[in-house]
Assembly symmetry: C2
Homo-oligomer: 275 residues x 2
């Protein structure tokens, strides 16, 4: 075993979702659909007397990461690196939590199964209030469908077979906490409808179209994101908004075909893993 | 969409298992543990008036593949390529069934979810009598634990976080059908005990050690496989036998360290995927 094992966790862009609160974080979560991308978070963990956490070299305080280390009864030096912006709808906090769980268990020889580590990271992220469904989606990879909310012992997942290019353009962050803290009944009803329709016609084209309709229904897209989505549609493509961030995404080359200069990556089919 | 999409399905070596028969193939299967490897099966599917199936260029009749195509209501030209030997404990028939399901659904625009396609391939493999747990393990990748038997709607999976090298040496085939058709009560009791012990101490080292103990208990290793396992142990390594084939495997470099010239590949964390 290496002294400083490394975990890679894909970024995850949610297209639509419904929010499911529960007193037990193992049963809380979200239903919905998203895409795991090859731009992700690499987390390196080394045993240490006191815990330190850095993101791209800068000290950060990520509650979900602290909660994971507490759950493992561990202290460690955690170093995360990512090309993704924090708070812009890519699940970076969830990826840091899950990457910490995987790499810390390996670094400290803690002998946990994948479900145990994914569950720990999911519960940490839910308890921190920073996400509801990214962790289980990032663990699976591909184009994950969250059929039922919760950790691996309580939730249920499926996926759409998918491959190929993903493009995105980020303008900045939206606060997940503030959206999820508000009244989410209408949003959740729209998310549940979208999931039902996607399961009736499970294709990647339908996923993007339903995501776009969900975004319109929620009123969350900013003017800048709305303009990108309209430009991509005018060019014959399809794009939608990352939930929750001021970010437009497309499967294929929708953004570049519409004249934008997007970040380009791919669908990550493998999901979170040691490497 | 490409006219001839390609799916890759990792090989899968089972270390230990218990057999669970059921009249409903969706509920039949196995519990146990194995490893998904980067030597696998690439399946290319093109629409065709009449079905043809080839393996490494030669026409073959693989019942699980025919059943998958029947289940999809499709006829197609299926071409599988693999460096793995058929019938030697690598789950090649399951990989062909699952790869056919993934690639045919894409080639013919059939719009199925991953669980639907994995379930279809699992039921086809069980009904054909050629395997019980390879398909769901190959879909997951990594070091899959089959906690409960059955397709994705009925079974339950976990995994051990793992990475790195896998070595194997094959002498030939054992008939899965004939072993599974016999009295499997003792074998299954040993497999269930091994799974319980692995879950109590979920490490890759324990996986190989419990696999070795299971192999000894079943009496399945041939003299040639037994000699490899003994030589690896004498050199300080750990190896076991692929269930079911005349094949020895090791995580890490156990076989080459003992002076063998094994096939070398890696743990495949991604599982079955379009590519």
């Amino acid at each position: 075993m290496a002294d400083s094992p490394e975990a890679f966790v894909p970024g995850h862009v949610t297209g639509f979702f419904s929010s499911h609160a529960h007193d037990d974080p193992a049963r809380a979560g979200s239903r919905g659909a998203g895409v795991a991308i090859s731009d992700g978070v690499t987390v390196t963990v080394a045993p240490a007397e006191a815990t330190t956490v850095t993101l791209d070299g800068d000290p950060v305080d990520v509650e979900a990461v602290s909660r994971v280390l507490d759950g493992l009864g561990a202290t460690a030096s955690v170093a995360a690196e990512t090309p993704l912006p924090l708070g812009a709808g890519f699940g970076v906090s969830g990826a840091m939590a899950l990457g910490t769980a995987l790499a810390a268990s390996e670094a400290l020889d803690l002998a946990h199964t994948e479900n145990e580590l994914v569950g720990l990271a999911h519960r940490a992220e839910v308890a921190a209030g920073t996400g509801l469904g990214d962790v289980v989606a990032q663990a699976r990879g591909g184009l994950p469908l969250r059929l039922e909310p919760g950790d691996p012992d309580h939730g249920a997942m499926d996926g759409l077979p998918a491959r190929g290019r993903v493009e995105y353009r980020t303008f900045g962050g939206l606060s997940t906490e503030s959206v999820l803290a508000g009244d989410t009944d209408d949003l959740s009803a729209a998310g549940d409808r979208a999931l039902e329709e996607l399961l009736a016609e499970p294709t990647t084209e339908r996923f993007v179209a339903l995501s776009r309709r969900f975004a319109e229904a929620t009123g969350l897209p900013t003017t800048r994101v709305e303009r990108v989505l309209a430009d991509v549609a005018a060019a014959g493509g399809a794009a939608s908004m990352a939930m929750l961030g001021e970010t437009a995404f497309a499967l294929g080359d929708g953004l570049s075909a519409a004249g934008y200069d997007p970040a380009i990556c791919r669908i990550d089919n493998a999901g979170a893993r040691l490497r």
